[in-house]
Symmetry: C2
Subunit: 263 residues, 2 copies
DNA sequence: TACTATGTTTCAAATAGTGAAACGCCAGTT
DNA sequence: AACTGGCGTTTCACTATTTGAAACATAGTA
């Protein structure tokens, strides 16, 4: 593994919950030796990827990512495009809609719009979502390489409810179904009473890089699913894809324009 | 120079104008050998810092910077804090106010609020500002290391008006004055008819990382400067500094609370 | 004062980075 | 079809950078 990659790996630990670390904390988290971590941190510091706060002896994200994000958003305004699609879709369906993208091996929720209904699902922004127990995670996995699927699912997976599927073979079968349908469904898999439908979207390399998901109380899911507005959801996913210069792969169903509904 | 830093250096070339590059373009820009650049790009790719677009054979900024920027803004909302100070200051002075920060060796304007007066200065957001011919640039330089000053000023500097100073020794004298006063002044240096005053602000390492600047038609500058509301401007700069967890250095004048006015 | 937890420095050993050159591929030209 | 130039890819011997362990420094605490 290259030095550059090892250094960049340190950045993976920073998130909204834990946004700054001391040297020793990163030593523990990364498993690298102290000298290694220190050297990397100094390099990242000089490259403006992180900042050092001398009063607390901790490191946090620096200004360079801000600049780079600005550059990226300036030429391909993904965040704006996605926020827009999520808002539209939520407005049309009057259910909560959220969008997750995969970064650094995790799925992160980067956009949410809540339903206006009294009984609705409220999802925190920036949260990590489990691969195997969310419609979004499965939607992405279904259009990922076999190797990646194995890497992610081939470990002991946590069970959240009695409906969480943790067996790799059952999960693989689920993925096959999702590949055929083009969307995934989660009923009470992550938390009892919450159900959702997700459609993946793709990056320029035609890899699934995120998913749009409609999420609601399970009590409303039956009627919703029986006349699933998959066209609407798909259209949003395609728009999000094209706005970020991505491309749906040939293997995606509905290339033949025939969309499969419920069951 | 470490490998990590050399790899990160490639990211410096990406900006709003030129947001994607082929391998060879980066070879030319960086002066590195082809093998080197390629290796670095692959590492950055795997670290999600960049994306590869196979249809154009070019690289552009990836998703990781987006994530990191989000993390940073979530814990220290710099952009929001600065926008706020710029708005306040502009409102109080009724002149255009803007804020620049230094990223990757350049000064970028990241926040602007226009004066409400008919005759006012309108500045584009995201523009690069020259180090030697702007109040902001000089304000930052005055509180930067000698080595950095030399690196930046020790090349042939463009002349914008007959008032642009391009001689390094004259510029250095200017910097000394700014160090004593805590603010910098630009009269017609970048464009005839535009004058401004700038105060630097600082990051946690007490390095000048940006500047707040009040800018107006030169015709109003005399009266303005004769009773310069430096306290107001300084207070805004200090607030911007503290909100981003930064710290003014000991060497900054006014630690003794005595503020020097005009001339 | 001693103790502990943290960050810093050092240096020989070894791993990972390096540049040059050869290679393969594609598109445009003759 | 053969030639050409431009670009990305692969390879490999050489060596410079990275590495880990251990000693050192410093700050906070009992």
């Amino acid at each position: 593994m290259s030095t550059v990659l090892k250094a960049l790996h340190l950045l993976d630990f920073f998130d909204e919950q834990t946004s700054s670390f001391s040297l020793n904390e990163l030593v523990t988290l990364s498993g690298y030796t102290k000298s290694k971590v220190r050297r990397y941190l100094l390099d990242l510091l000089e490259g403006n990827m992180i900042e050092y706060c001398s009063s607390t002896n901790t490191y946090r994200i620096g200004l360079m990512p801000l600049r780079l994000a600005k550059v990226r958003e300036a030429c391909t305004p993904m965040q704006a495009a996605i926020d827009n699609e999520v808002r539209n879709l939520s407005h049309k369906l009057n259910e909560s809609v959220h969008c997750c993208i995969e970064i650094g091996g995790h799925i992160l929720r980067i956009s949410v719009v809540q339903s206006k209904k009294k009984n609705r699902i409220v999802l925190p922004l920036g949260e990590k979502v489990p691969w195997h127990a969310s419609a979004s995670g499965l939607a992405i996995l279904a259009f990922s390489s076999e190797e990646k699927v194995l890497r992610i699912l081939n470990k002991s997976l946590p069970s959240f409810t009695e409906y969480t599927v943790t067996d790799i073979n059952t999960l693989k079968e689920k993925l096959t179904v999702i590949q055929q349908r083009g969307y995934s469904v989660s009923e009470n898999m992550l938390e009892n009473g919450i159900s959702s439908v997700a459609v993946p979207f793709f990056n320029p390399q035609q890899q699934a890089c995120g998913a749009l998901s409609v999420v609601m109380p399970s009590i409303r899911f039956g009627p919703f699913y029986s006349q699933l507005p998959i066209d609407l959801i798909l259209r949003s996913a395609k728009k999000a894809t094209s706005l970020t210069l991505g491309q749906f792969p040939k293997c995606f169903p509905g290339h033949n324009k025939q969309v499969l509904y419920a069951n």
